[in-house]
Amino acid sequence: MASNKKYWQSVEELNENSSIVETLRNNEFVEEIPTDEFLGNEEAMSSSSTSRRDFLKYVGFSTAAASLAACEGPVIKSIPYVVQPEEIIPGVADYYATTIADGFDFANILIKTREGRPIKVENNRMPGSGISANARVYASVLSLYDSMRLKQPMVAGKPASWEEVDTRVKAGLAEAAASGGQVVLLTNTMASPSTDKLIAEFGAKYANFKHVVYDSVSSSEALDAYQAVYGERALANYDLSSADVIVAVGADFLGDWQGGGYDTGYAGKRIPKQGKMSKHIQMEANLTLSGSNADKRIPLTVTQQKHALVHLYNEVTGSSVSVPAVGEKYAAEVKKAAKQLKDAGSKGVVMTGLDDVNAQLLVIAINQALQSEAFKPEEARYTRKGDAKQVQALINDIKAGSVSALIMSGVNPVYTLPNGAEFKEALGKVKLSVAFSMKEDETAAHTTVAAAAPHYLESWGDVVITKGTYSVTQPTIRPLFDTRQLQDALLSWSGNSQSYYEYLKASSSEFFTGKSWNQLVHDGISVSENVPALTAGAADFGGAASALAGAKATGDFELVLYTKTGMGDGQQANNPWLQEFPDPITRASWDNYVTVAKADAEKLGLENYHVANGGLNGSYATLEVNGIKLEKVPVMIQPGQAVGTLGLSLGYGRTAAMKQEMQVGINAYPVYKNFNSFQSAKISKGNGDHEFACLQLQKTLMGRGDIVKETTLEIFNTKDASEWNEVPQVSLDHSEVASTSVDLWESFDRTVGHHFNLSIDLNACTGCGACVIACHSENNVPVVGKSEVRRSRDMHWLRIDRYYSSEETFAEDVELKENTSGLMNSISTFNAMEDPAENPQVAFQPVFCQHCNHAPCETVCPVAATSHGRQGQNHMAYNRCVGTRYCANNCPYKVRRFNWFLYNKNSEFDYHMNDDLGRMVLNPDVNVRSRGVMEKCSLCLQMTQATILKAKREGRPVAKDEFSTACSEACGSGALVFGDINNPEDTVTKLKEDDRMYHLLEHVGTQPNVFFQVKVRNT
């Protein structure tokens, strides 16, 4: 039946006589096209002598002419120095020892400079330098070339000269002195004795002077406890290389706890030697790096952690403070840990990161009772000095209007204070506010004077990281901008005509002996022979224990604020390397998020799921802490998160003086009330989903024990290597043979010359990621941005895979997989194995090009762009590569990276390679790859070649362990060892013969030159 339906396009059509409908029926365009405007002028048209034909001729001719002209090569200018500095030889790198002390990170480092510009950070291995550089320290060289830096001082928001600043500040200070108002210096922890001296001299002129130290991420309670017992405001140092049993309660000592840097001592004791290694028990709420590396991890809420600490105290000291049991699930585990700690005696040590004076006092009490050798209060650490109470008092003073001059340096309170907004308002009441800052950040934008401060690589300074050491910071480049450091300004404002360099040089003699000044600057550090002994005072430990035992859960969620390995406290938020650095635990980059236990997420309806393009999505949640709401916080479901707790990292959500792409994440400082990282919070599901840029979507190993081989210390000690480090079997002529005995190709004789190998010890690797950033800076690895990372187009040459066990342990995974049979059973089991356990074991595995002796990538390249070197390195000739990507598809390790776009000088990728300043960090010895080219780890070919050349020039064989790569150099824990296996003396040669040695995917027969050491757990 034919339909008589008529469809109306508008009400107007109902009116049969409508003229509009009639017009529309005949005309495509309602309004007439204004052709007359350009064709109507008859006169102009006819008088024009250019016909269409002529026009085409001109276009054709000019195109041809332009392309002809383009054939000429460019003229390149070379401009030598007029007077070449003595120490600079173009093409040769210079190294300078210096020290970073930015209030959050402290380390003795070497700076590699080329033609006068710093390009890389390396570890200073002089004796006494205890803290090895972490990812942020490695990335700090890029922050020097931040194009958003403050380029000159500003007075009242307008660019000014330093003379104007001096006039303004001197007038303000004089006024303050006259009126008797407070003059306050608010700084970060500088740990600089000469600056302290200078500040005291400066302050002596004012009746009402105060110096307040403020750490954006506070360790105030630990400092209070140490001060109560030992009488000095400092932190105890720990030497984990002399500990057999380590119990950490909420202390991420492999992360940023109290300034970090404990991984070197820790890792040394984690490698089994003569059948012995340390035992590490971690009690914590968030899954941290330390928890991931622990032999036994006990997920506890913060309240439970406090109780657990009292249990430890009771067990070790024999006291009997009444304390509730630590939940049902883990009470026995805590008891066991306490027992093990007590049995270890002086070889045991306890650490805590709880922001509670009582907890900190208990730790001192327990370590004292153990007479722990690892606990070193006499080597006091000065990496944190902030006093939460004084900061609070200062804010009140400012609000009350009693502060007339406020000079800030290295701090950004408007961003980092929980009540930053209030502080911003209160700043208006201060007559003279000065902020020394590298950027016009949240605070500097609201002060009277924004004093442009130099980067630490442009400044002088001295640092006492631990008592008994004295380190020097020296400039490695002339200041890039019109900047002045705080100390120079203080000198000039106090009428001292000396420069800070002169002042430092003169006053430094008080702080070190046994070296000349030049030697000190050369070494970067001086260690004094005898550290004075320390006498412990009395403190009410029993009272502290009772108080701690009385801690009660509020019933809400317990929010644990932490700092991420990449971002720290957020002062380097505009650093693209750090933004793109994947978090070692969640493997997500460019974000912070609230971590939730799976059980809690299910209750709240929060979810994580993968979408078709391989991206990870997560629900939004709303957090409420003390009446402050954080909206749209992305949710990351975190295995190992203690049920009833949430984790949220600080340091994100910055907006001032940041490139658009870098303004990511949620600022968690507003809920950092009273500088306590433990808050009680409410959480509810928000609207919409968040798109993460997560580099690893698979969470478990699915029982494939041959990828990350591991065993227990017991088995390792008692059984033959063939049982716990089995060589995979393959079928040859229908019989099983060891895969290492089968070879598809003729082997190349590599016995002559160098043959490079790299050993990765899975026991020593803490997953910290320092190597990832070191690799970036050595090899000019581009930053691609959040959306590209989400598409799995990240360019990291070195990735650190993180795996969770889906059962309690990886061993159980393997067992489960092997016992699975039958189709239906397999499917359901394997489906279940995709999910990690509630409190899983964690394994880290750094993976980069394995430099196979029989490389699958080489055989498929149609243009022979990737080929094999006889020194064991798999070469990649970028200029030859045409971008077929066959090699990446044929690589079993998935380590090849493709340049989908041009990442340099491209405004679509507005990171450091897009501005002249940022490009100064590039290593001139390594090519910057272009679009359409495959790239990958070269085993730092440029570094091995440089080492060989050095030996050749000096006419000597290469020395023992002289070869290194960027990653092996950066590894503070000694997990990555590089060397020449044809040199019998090299460490790597011995490691290759070790029982624990295995290759990744050995059964494929690729014969890699990178090998791993079986992970041994001391369970």
Partner: protein, 441 residues
């Protein structure tokens, strides 16, 4: 019969042209051969009656480091110094000037102050006679400064002008030739017309092209030949893209390697010192130039030296450019502090994706600079000598033996490899010098 007449007229034209061109070239030779008259100088009898020839020898060996005859250097200009001071005083001064100054001699103190308190080296070994000889030399009258020719054109440019003249003459000759030919042609046609011969008429034979087109074999052969030669030339054209062999740009300062490395025999690595230790050979910074040019402020090479291609004034002006850049005040003998870097045009441009290290080749392998850069000591203007293509690099690596003598690094590797390959000497390629990753990373 008429043809003969035409023939004679043609040869007449040819002769005329030859004569014309010859007359031009004679003219230009005449200009070149103008005698470079040297103002002959008679040795003037001097007051001290010393021997100026001996004096010159002494002056050059002892005094010239700090003094010139006519210009201030570290010390004052010395011409006519014997008239300014008493001879006895001069003896004392030369033997030990500082003693004289200490003694408070007014003239000595004044002189000392005038010369930036620079102490003059004492020469106690000189006898009175020696000093007399030197003074005799310094008392010779200054040579008469050559009067510049009205145009003031340097020699080389005069040569250019005569070349232009010859070219002009040739063009003229050609023009005349063409006119003649046209005239001859018209004359012939007229003659033919007059005789009733039809010039335009052609025979009834098939044309050459038609015959060619019918011969298929010939067509095939020629087209293959054409294709092959086309491919050959195309390949040749494509292969020279980006190859700048012979690139000889004009530099901001005319620096003659011929004078420095050739005539003066300065070692390459004296100026390009970083070639020994660095990947770049380094363009010398200007302070290196000033090591010598602080004292050498003008070009003194004689005009008829074989190596001089430009005039004295030209070279001296180039030295002045250096002074301007480095900020050296020649008359005050001090730096002004005003510098402007020299923007040299880079000649050897390796692409970014190639790693080349000078020290490997210069220090380790002991390769002479000339091996790649050519006979630089003969280059008046620096140019790229080698093609710098990958084939060129690889070829050398294949042919050159590794220099192992006295280098402990190579000892073990070389012995083992030599055994393995069964050869006495190893080439760089044997050592892995042709692997991609050795130069590309």
């Amino acid at each position: 019969m008429k043809k003969v007449g035409n023939h004679t007229s043609f040869s007449r034209i040819l002769f005329f042209c030859l004569a014309l061109s010859l007359s031009f070239s004679f003219a230009s030779y005449a200009q070149d051969a103008a005698p470079a008259a040297d103002a002959g100088q008679e040795a003037a009898a001097s007051a001290g009656a010393g021997d100026p020839a001996k004096g010159k020898e002494l002056f050059n060996s002892l005094c010239a480091a700090c003094h010139k005859l006519d210009a201030k250097m570290t010390g004052p200009a010395l011409r006519g110094v014997s008239e300014k001071h008493d001879r006895e005083w001069l003896y004392k001064w030369v033997r030990n000037s500082s003693e004289l100054i200490k003694s408070g001699d007014a003239a000595a103190v004044k002189l000392f102050a005038e010369n930036n308190n620079q102490v003059m080296t004492a020469f106690p070994q000189l006898s009175n006679e020696d000093i007399d000889n030197i003074l005799a030399y310094t008392s010779e009258p200054a040579p008469v400064v050559e009067k510049k020719t009205p145009g003031g054109e340097p020699v080389a440019q005069e040569g250019g002008a005569s070349n232009n003249l010859i070219l002009g003459a040739l063009v003229l000759v050609l023009l005349v030739l063409i006119v003649m030919l046209v005239l001859v042609n018209t004359t012939l046609r007229k003659v033919a017309a007059a005789n009733g011969v039809d010039v335009s008429k052609k025979g009834n034979t098939i044309s050459f092209w038609q015959a060619y087109a019918r011969n298929q074999f010939l067509v095939l052969v020629t087209s293959i030949l054409l294709l092959l030669s086309g491919a050959y030339f195309l390949y040749g054209y494509l292969m020279q893209i980006g190859v700048d062999q012979g690139y000889e740009p004009i530099q901001p300062i005319h620096f003659s390697h011929k004078i420095h490395a050739g005539e003066n025999g300065i070692d390459c690595k004296y100026c390009h010192s970083s070639a020994r230790v660095s990947k770049t050979s380094g363009i010398p910074s200007l302070n290196v130039c000033m090591n010598c040019h602080k004292n050498i402020s003008e070009f003194t090479g004689s005009k008829d030296s074989t190596y001089v291609e430009y005039s004295k004034e030209f070279y001296t002006a180039e030295i002045q450019k250096l002074y301007d850049a480095v900020g050296w005040d020649k008359s005050a003998q001090q730096y002004t502090g005003k510098t402007k870097p020299v923007k040299w045009v880079r000649i050897h441009n390796l692409p970014d994706f190639v790693y080349f290290n000078h020290s490997q080749h210069v220090s380790v392998a002991g390769v002479e600079c000339q091996t790649c850069h050519g006979p630089v000591e003969t280059f008046e203007i620096m140019k790229q000598n080698a093609p710098l293509t990958m084939g060129w690099c690889i070829n050398c690596h294949r042919e050159t033996n590794v220099k192992v003598e006295g280098n402990d690094y190579y000892k073990k590797i070389h012995d083992e490899l030599a055994k393995k390959y069964g050869v006495q000497k190893l080439t760089a390629a044997n050592m892995g010098g042709t692997e991609c990753g050795k130069c590309h990373y």
